[in-house]
């Protein structure tokens, strides 16, 4: 057993190793292991204590799903979750369309100040979220955005803020895919009699499909997760799940918060994994065309 462990860790080997064989060295494994611990230990603890039958997140008592039941019956938590989903879905539709159009515009046309426009598009990606949040709040106050609208129109300012920061991500993903597009496919469609519009629908959009789905999922997760910008734009009646969790934590970290957070983590992880897989699948399929 001990001998197997040492050989697994890479002790006692003197032969030279190839560049791709460093993964077999014990110190390399240690670094990778520690990185994962730092990254994921807090989340694992969060998820674990959401199943703990105790009000305090300190000692493990026994397994329970009570906190999930309690979270489901918490009306204010459900309203917040409903708001989050509504905002995320509307944001996904809008930012996917807007991001795709932006990417197509930058890819297809030459116009004055194009590099400036291109840089400006990337700004919401690099700008600190807190600045964006404050700016959004100031902007809506300045134009006098009404805050007594009926639901779901009352969510409109949050949706606008979310679209503003998530459509550039979609644009970046779509542009990356367009960079590998064979322009002769477009020429071929026109040569065969297709109009500009039909070429877009019949040739370019099917080619973009994996990137469209990936972009949509990314913007969905970005919107669902967002706290900072939403915090500055949400009113008392338009609380989203991350903002609600934050306000719950301000009083005390209860396992109910853990349960709500775990749900958020699961949704986020699943959509992100889907997005990445679709993007990879698209790259593989694109290389043969």
């Amino acid at each position: 057993m001990a001998g197997r462990l040492t050989s697994l860790l890479g002790f006692g080997r003197d032969e030279p190793i190839g560049p791709l064989d460093y993964g077999r060295r014990w110190w390399m494994r240690l670094i990778v292991g520690l990185t994962f611990v730092f990254l994921y230990a807090p989340i694992v603890v969060l998820i674990a204590y959401s199943f703990n039958d105790s009000r305090r997140n300190i000692v493990w008592v026994r397994f329970t799903t009570d906190w999930y039941v309690k979270a489901i019956h918490d009306q204010s938590l459900l309203v917040a979750f409903g708001n989050s989903l509504t905002i995320a879905i509307i944001n996904t539709l809008l930012s996917t369309v807007l991001g795709t159009l932006t990417a197509l515009l930058l890819w297809r046309f030459r116009f004055p100040l194009r590099p400036v426009y291109e840089g400006a598009i990337a700004l919401p990606i690099v700008i600190p979220e807190i600045c964006m949040g404050v700016a959004m709040m100031a902007f809506f106050a300045w134009i006098g955005w009404p805050n007594d609208l009926p639901w779901p129109i009352s969510l409109s300012n949050i949706v606008i803020a979310h679209v503003a920061f998530s459509f550039p991500f979609v644009a970046v993903i779509i542009r990356a895919r367009l960079a590998g597009f064979n322009r002769e496919l477009e020429d071929a469609a026109k040569d065969l009699g297709a109009t500009e519009w039909r070429t877009l629908l019949d040739i370019i959009v099917p080619y973009l499909k994996p990137a469209l789905v990936a972009g949509a999922l990314i913007s969905f997760t970005l919107s669902l997760d967002d706290f900072v910008i939403t915090f500055f734009t949400a009113g008392p009646d338009t609380i989203t799940l991350p903002v609600k969790i934050f306000s719950m934590v301000r009083f005390s970290v209860t396992p109910e918060v853990n349960a709500a957070s775990t749900v958020l983590v699961v949704i986020t992880v699943v959509t992100t994994v889907l997005a990445l897989r679709l993007q990879n699948a698209g790259q593989k399929a694109g290389s043969s065309g």
């Binding site: 064979n182 002769e184 496919l185 020429d187 071929a188 469609a189 026109k190 040569d191 065969l192 009699g193 297709a194 109009t195 039909r198 019949d202 040739i203 099917p206 080619y207 399929a285 694109g286 043969s288 065309g289």
Partner: protein
Amino acid sequence: MSDAIISIQGVTKRFGEVTAVERVDLDIRAGEFFALLGPSGCGKTTLLRMLAGFEQPSEGRILIGGQDMTGVQPNHRPVNMVFQSYAVFPHMTVFDNVAYGLKVAHTPRGEIAPRVKEALAMVQLSGYEARKPDQLSGGQRQRVALARALVKRPKVLLLDEPLSALDAKLREAMQIELVRLQQTVGITFVIVTHDQDEALSMADRIAVMESGHVRQVASPQTLYEFPSGRFVADFIGKMNLFEGKVVAREAAGLSVEVEGLGRLELPADERAPAPGRAVGIAVRPEKVELTRSAPPEGSVARRGTVTQVAYYGDVSYVFLDLEDGPALNANVINDERAAEPHFVKGETLWAAWNPRDFLVLGE
């Protein structure tokens, strides 16, 4: 003139500062296999793209089937194109690829399937209807591209370097098949290529292009045997080129003083420059005869030493240094079965040629 399906009239194309095509006049006849041949960057592809409508001429105009194509978009032109990358739609089956042009033209549904079937049979792809492009070889994808263009029954089929992505064996087979296909369908083919063998073996007529200009338009044989100038002579096939000066130009003959070859008496040539002017004298390697014994009276002969022999199976290229300096390349046909080369390095030989085989090139 009236049988020209394509008439290119004074066409110039500029991209910013660069002139890709300059004042080209060209008529392409109905039903012919026409090649645009030239080195890369000579403007041949730009000219083809102007025929397809992807580029608009900066000056001049193009008529296709007698109609002015100025301002006519690619989707409204009676031509179809086979692209260099084939541009087969990756997300569509072979059937859908070929049917696409008919669908966008609102061809009646009942008519589409038989026409697709017919087009696929023409390129020998029957039975591949349900395949996706990534399940096809390069040669098969090219056949799809051909079928997709031909199914539209265009007046002219444009082919942009169609064989450049294929390996040598397949390329040769496709050359023969393209000619057969062209003769079957009777459509005018215009092919762009940088490969002179391709152009010579397939085309009825060839336009040789260089830096935006058409240098010569002629049949393959005329281009090879009677090139109009130095560029065409050098670009098509192999050539021994010598520099010289005209001594006398008379009805009886042309007398030229050539560096390293001395005085040559050639047949009369009214296109030759005036006496005293520089002239290029060229001769094809296969028109040089190599012998060990002195050649018969009347032929022009010089002695030279073999510096290298390159063996190609059917022919060998023999490189010689002539006694008075210039290098000479001669082709020897290996028409006898032998284990040893006919000529070897270091040997001294007679190189002889008929004065009629010399080309006189001006400029």
